[in-house]
Amino acid sequence: MITGISIYEILTVTSILFFIGVYGFITRTNLISILISVELILNASVVNFVIINKYLFPEVLQGVYFSIFIIAVAAAETALAVSIIINLYRQISSVEVKDIETMKY
């Protein structure tokens, strides 16, 4: 619990973070930037879980545990995505979205 800051302010921040992530996912043209946007979305959920647990239901620690698992899974996800991107880079020497459009419609 942070004195002087209510849950509304923090939830507003996480919602903004979430939508920045969604916006970035749609508009970015670099695969690494898209990956960073996904991380923003996941981190918004992590903060959400911790804050909801701390402010609303402090007696049970379900949200905090959940957030730890999300962080671990997000790391695995990023590692896998980066490894696939590296493999792609070896073949086409580019990480731009416009270069991975051989399959369409």
Partner: protein
């Protein structure tokens, strides 16, 4: 601590043991005899499938995080049979293309890890287990999609799958956090007592639904499907379209019928709209496909739309029909993908145009593909007809007549494009038809099992009664 209660996780423990055995086998089997890993895997997984049919009790473990009942157990067995057929069909591909790159056993390890995630996902009792199962079932498949590291389209499909699935899981996590905010719990049986239709709950439900719809490839979230299916190896595409989709349908059904049951009047509308959109878009886009894998991808999107008709009924009949349809869908779709894989492995051809005159050169394969497409289209003597018929009955018995009418219109559209492929095989004389070839033993066994399933499942009525009995205890 009573260790015998761990027997409820028998399937998971057995599968984990197989994965570990494969890791050890990979270390100790010398490089020139790696072929034996394929035989070992199929043997071990065959035993696992047979042992799975033994009786299992119904109970909860870990304070309700993990639960199992007869329907869940039965569904795991269905998935086991599907994966076994898939292994039989992909054995030749692994032996010819993958083993010489010395990465044969990783294929099995990744696929079994994904299956393990699916097990945990469908028997999840809280959102943490559900989320972990969902991720464990998705991430290895993304690695598998990018498995042919020498091919550019394989890497492309892998990156498309991993990025979109990461977005989907992020969105559904945000939804889960909102459900947690309004109910104060992540356990299914605690949430269902408190949940009510406030605005925040509804937003959470919609976001969660979006995340799962991605796995089933329902329409606003279907854009990854065709690209990933085309680029990925065929066995991975069929895993995605059959096993992964079937499991996601099951967990969606569990969530809607148990956790979100108090919000039924709202999610019924969502499913109504999405079912119509999915059927029409899937079918209309399938009409213009030239590549067989893309064609099957859009056909599987349309089939997912039909499955939603069973969910909207929200009754024991609905549950039974969905499970029954998924069972039939596994056999029909695996038969279609099996034939595509056999032809692609021998000749490298994947376009519908290349299939012209297939009946003259390879009559058996074209008969299998014809049966599979008839079953997907729902033509009476084969099993697919009964699956669709029960789905439509379940929706019509709840009064959704317009929806059933639109579904029947869609069945007619789908009949057209399935018959296009059959016409190419039987009536056209191609300039350059695929030469005759003989399949190896594993592929033949895999195709024979699927054909038996397509022919017998529809006629053998005690099976439906059995599923109905299981699902009445479930609701």
């Amino acid at each position: 601590m009573n260790y015998s209660s761990f027997l409820l996780m028998r399937q998971e423990i057995a599968l984990l043991a197989i994965i570990l055995l494969l890791v050890i086998a990979e270390i100790f089997i010398p490089r020139d005899r790696k072929v034996s890993i394929i035989h070992l895997t199929i043997f071990l997984f065959g035993i696992h499938t047979i042992v799975g049919f033994f009786h299992m009790d119904e109970n909860n473990l870990f304070g309700g995080m993990f639960r199992t009942n007869h329907l869940i157990h039965f569904f795991k067995n269905i998935l086991n049979i599907g994966v076994l057929i898939l292994l039989l069909q992909s054995a030749d591909w692994i032996q010819e293309k993958i083993l010489n790159q010395n990465k044969g056993s990783e294929f099995f390890i990744l696929m079994f890890s994904s299956l393990l995630g699916i097990y945990f996902m469908i028997s999840a009792g809280d959102f943490l287990m559900f989320y972990l199962g969902l991720e464990l079932s998705t991430l290895p498949v993304a690695a598998l999609a990018a498995y042919e590291t020498m091919k550019r389209i394989s890497s492309e499909s892998g990156i498309k799958l991993i990025l979109s699935s990461a977005l989907a899981s992020g969105v559904s996590l945000f939804g889960i956090s909102m459900l947690y905010a309004t109910t104060g719990s992540i356990y299914f049986n605690e949430i269902v007592q408190i949940i009510s239709s406030t605005n925040l709950t509804l937003l959470g439900m919609v976001l969660l639904f979006a995340g799962i719809s991605f796995k089933i490839s329902l329409v606003p979230f279907h854009f990854w499907t065709a690209d990933v299916y085309e680029g990925a190896p065929i066995s991975v595409a069929s895993y995605l379209s059959v096993i992964s989709k079937g499991a996601a349908v099951f967990i969606l059904m569990v969530l809607l019928f148990t956790v979100l049951k108090p919000l039924a009047h709202i999610w019924e509308n969502i499913i109504y709209m999405i079912a119509i959109a999915t059927m029409f878009i899937g079918n209309l886009f399938a009409l213009r496909q030239q590549n067989m894998k893309r064609f099957l991808a859009f056909s599987s999107i349309a089939q997912a739309g039909f499955i939603l008709l069973g969910l909207i009924g929200q009754s024991p009949t609905g549950t039974a029909t969905v499970v029954y349809f998924v069972l039939i869908y596994i056999f029909s779709n695996l038969a279609a993908f099996g034939v595509v894989q056999a032809i692609s492995l021998q000749t490298g051809k994947e376009n519908i145009k290349d299939y012209e005159g297939l009946y003259r050169t390879n009559p058996n394969l074209s008969l299998v593909l014809m049966l599979a497409l008839f079953s997907l289209a729902g033509i009476p003597p084969v099993a697919g007809f009964f699956g669709k018929f029960f789905l439509f009955t379940a929706a019509a018995s709840k009064g959704f007549f317009l929806l059933v009418f639109l579904a029947v219109v869609n069945v007619t559209i789908s009949l057209y494009y399935y018959l296009l492929v059959i016409r190419a095989m039987f009536l056209r004389k191609g300039d350059n038809p695929i030469p005759f070839f003989k399949n190896k033993i594993y592929m033949r066994i895999g195709l024979v099992i699927t054909v038996l399933g397509i022919l017998l499942l529809g006629i053998y009525s005690p099976l439906y009664d059995y599923i109905y009995e299981l699902s009445s205890t479930f609701n």
